[in-house]
Symmetry: C2
Subunit: 75 residues, 2 copies
């Protein structure tokens, strides 16, 4: 369940970033996070903390809840 | 911003737990988390990870997004 969760969250961040025509570098700078961290999140490699979820949501000008409104697919 | 965020999330978890008439011990057991961890989350002392947010939401039978649908009050 956990890996699917991280991948689904990563895909949600990636979709929102692309919809805003931001690069990973730009999103990282807006969110005060390193570009490589953003890349890791989007690839489902990071178990993101609540503070970083809020930073990403704020940088994407989205409600945190919108980044998490998906059903976690079972493995 | 960050401390307020953790406190608001903690209050949201606490309210949901009480609404389900669960003790911290019971929520911890349902979520496969230690009772002291649940206590720390509710007191705003834990920067909860995405995986643990999902565990708490599942244990509370709530959508993750519902645990995060609040505006983060500025400090």
């Amino acid at each position: 369940m956990e890996q699917r969760l991280l991948e689904q969250f990563g895909a949600r961040v990636r979709d929102a970033r692309i919809a805003k025509a931001l690069s990973q570098e730009q999103l990282g700078s807006l969110a005060d996070l390193d570009r490589t961290y953003v890349s890791g999140v989007e690839r489902g490699k990071r178990n993101v903390s609540l503070v970083n979820i809020a930073k990403l949501a704020k940088a994407l000008d989205l409600q945190m809840s919108l980044l998490l409104d998906f059903e976690v697919a079972d493995d």
